[in-house]
Symmetry: C2
Subunit: 333 residues, 2 copies
């Protein structure tokens, strides 16, 4: 019998995620039924949205129910198959959960191609963060040559790709991040035109210096005070692509309200929230472009792959909210 180590949500954390919210145990691995296959999971994607999935209340998707295996994207190999389209050994990406083995009927599953990029990259930068960056900047943000693009959480999995695509498209790219080390990485390794360390600089003054011609596109990952500051510098007909609002995810009390909303009116901004699944039918387009840029050496991906298996899930996840990770966070199963 195959053993499946699982991480089940058994409580709804208040504030930071704690180990007590989960039950981590060995179970018998389930067998696939007719039209199903079983996946042996190799890598799990850790994403800021997970915090929202643990909470009750309306978000993109329904919350994880208490007692269920914690929801997570993962990549692995088909292990046993009763599905006509999948054979043992096929590499697949899907919402497989924080566990070692998952059953799937193929719905929502994307084929990974390990000859194109190593397996962990499919839940790393080339996967959801890459697709999110691609559609968020080019479709939602309508970025075009000559635009000034400002990115918050710029050294994160999504932000670092947004900036590089911006450079590829001829934009002036300005990154906001939370340490001198992250800022140096964006400027020196990824070629950002300007960087702002929001923890040590005055945001309003720094934005004025970094964006002498104002801001055409703001790629929003954070919310709160950083958003207020960027709104004050937006150009007429600017776009705000709202990809994330990390500032609110772990907040136990209402954060300070957004003050510069009048900018939306005065500057006739387009502010639009999106998630990558809104562009599900165009994933192949994004993947082709991203892999192409990576092969040409124009797109660097920084991945932070952590060991420890599913048992390390709560602690590794918290790195996302404390700024402790550096690049797309992946957990090796």
């Amino acid at each position: 019998m195959t053993t499946n180590r699982t991480v089940r949500l058994v409580g709804r954390p208040v504030g930071m995620v704690t180990r007590e919210a989960f039950e981590i145990a060995d179970e018998a691995a389930p067998e696939p039924g007719e039209g199903e296959f079983r996946v042996k999971i190799e890598y799990i994607s850790l994403d800021p949205a997970m915090r929202g999935w643990m909470a009750e209340g309306k978000s993109y998707v329904a919350p994880v129910q208490l007692g269920d295996v914690m929801r997570a994207y993962g990549v692995g190999y088909v292990d046993v198959s009763n599905h006509a389209d999948y054979a043992a050994g096929d590499a697949v990406v899907g919402m497989f959960g924080v566990q070692q083995y998952a059953i799937s009927n193929g719905k929502g599953v994307v084929r990974a191609d390990a000859s194109l990029a190593p397996l962990e990259s499919w839940v790393g930068g080339l996967g959801m963060p890459g697709w999110t960056a691609y559609f968020g900047l080019l479709d939602v943000g309508e970025a075009k040559e000559g635009d000034t693009v400002v990115i918050s959480a710029a050294s994160g999995a999504v932000g670092s790709i947004v900036g590089q695509i911006g450079k590829l498209k001829g934009c002036r790219v300005v990154g906001i991040a939370g340490s001198a080390e992250k800022c140096a990485y964006l400027r020196d390794e990824l070629g950002f035109d300007a960087v702002i360390d929001y923890k040590s600089e005055d945001l309003y003054a720094a934005l004025k210096t970094a964006c002498p011609d104002g801001v055409d596109v703001y790629f929003e990952n954070v919310g709160g005070e950083i958003t207020d500051a960027v709104l004050s510098r937006m150009n007429t007909f600017g776009r705000v692509a709202v990809c994330g609002m990390i500032a609110y995810y772990n907040a136990t009390e209402a954060p300070a309200g957004l003050k510069n909303v009048r900018s939306i009116l005065v500057n006739r901004l387009k502010v639009r929230g999106f998630i990558v699944f809104d562009f599900a039918e165009r994933i192949a387009e994004a993947m082709t472009a991203l892999v192409g840029w990576q092969k040409e050496g124009k797109l660097q991906l920084r991945q932070d792959v952590r060991e420890g298996g599913v048992d390390a899930y709560p602690e590794v996840l918290n790195l996302l909210y404390t700024g402790g990770n550096f690049g797309k966070l992946v957990l090796k199963v």
Copy 2:
């Protein structure tokens, strides 16, 4: 010699508009040069945006300079013309200012047709408010049959037309206004499906009752707490057409920030600021539709035409910010 009574901005009001901000005096009416004509102004449009024009700082358009005639839309008849395309007696709409006579070179001027609608209507509901409602609801708000549309400042010049166009298009229309009288007017005379008196009702509870299927389009005229309440009820892929934010116009201290901005992300909203001039090339389309609906008796326009000439400008203008007007505010010169 023709006398021209003018209202010049000589101070920048703080808070409400006061008479001291203006110099009101008789001057010699200017004579048109080559390629110009003179307009005898009959009616002046009083609009919430005027408060912004008096303030320094970035808005849609440059502020009115101290010493200049206060900016205003008006309608009147050509009086003397040295312009090939305009003859004495032609009815015209344009940015003619708060005065009795204005000089124009025809730029930005729209011809009025008094046989289609009475002259005051061209600076009344059929004019800018009508065009704003039309493009704001149908283009920016992307309203379609079956949508629930919520309108703040719903009994105002723009809001009352938005609601009626919404009904014409098969939407469920919910109006928010600030008195029982205004609410009764919207419900009983304009056929709104539901109304909310924000001064006497709990907004969150009232919105829940009035919008059982959530909100697809929010036509924003107000900002502040009302916006927060509506954001909490928005449906996935909802649209917010940001037409005005009256709450901020006279504010001397920073208003409370917007708290429910996460709704933009969670519900993947499109929030877009606009002004009617963004659709300048399509005014004829809007005017044709509006006049057509009015002739069919499907569009009621409430105008509040005030007497008193240009001398009454400061007091009449303040009715906009105290809720003292009822329908599109027009000043008879």
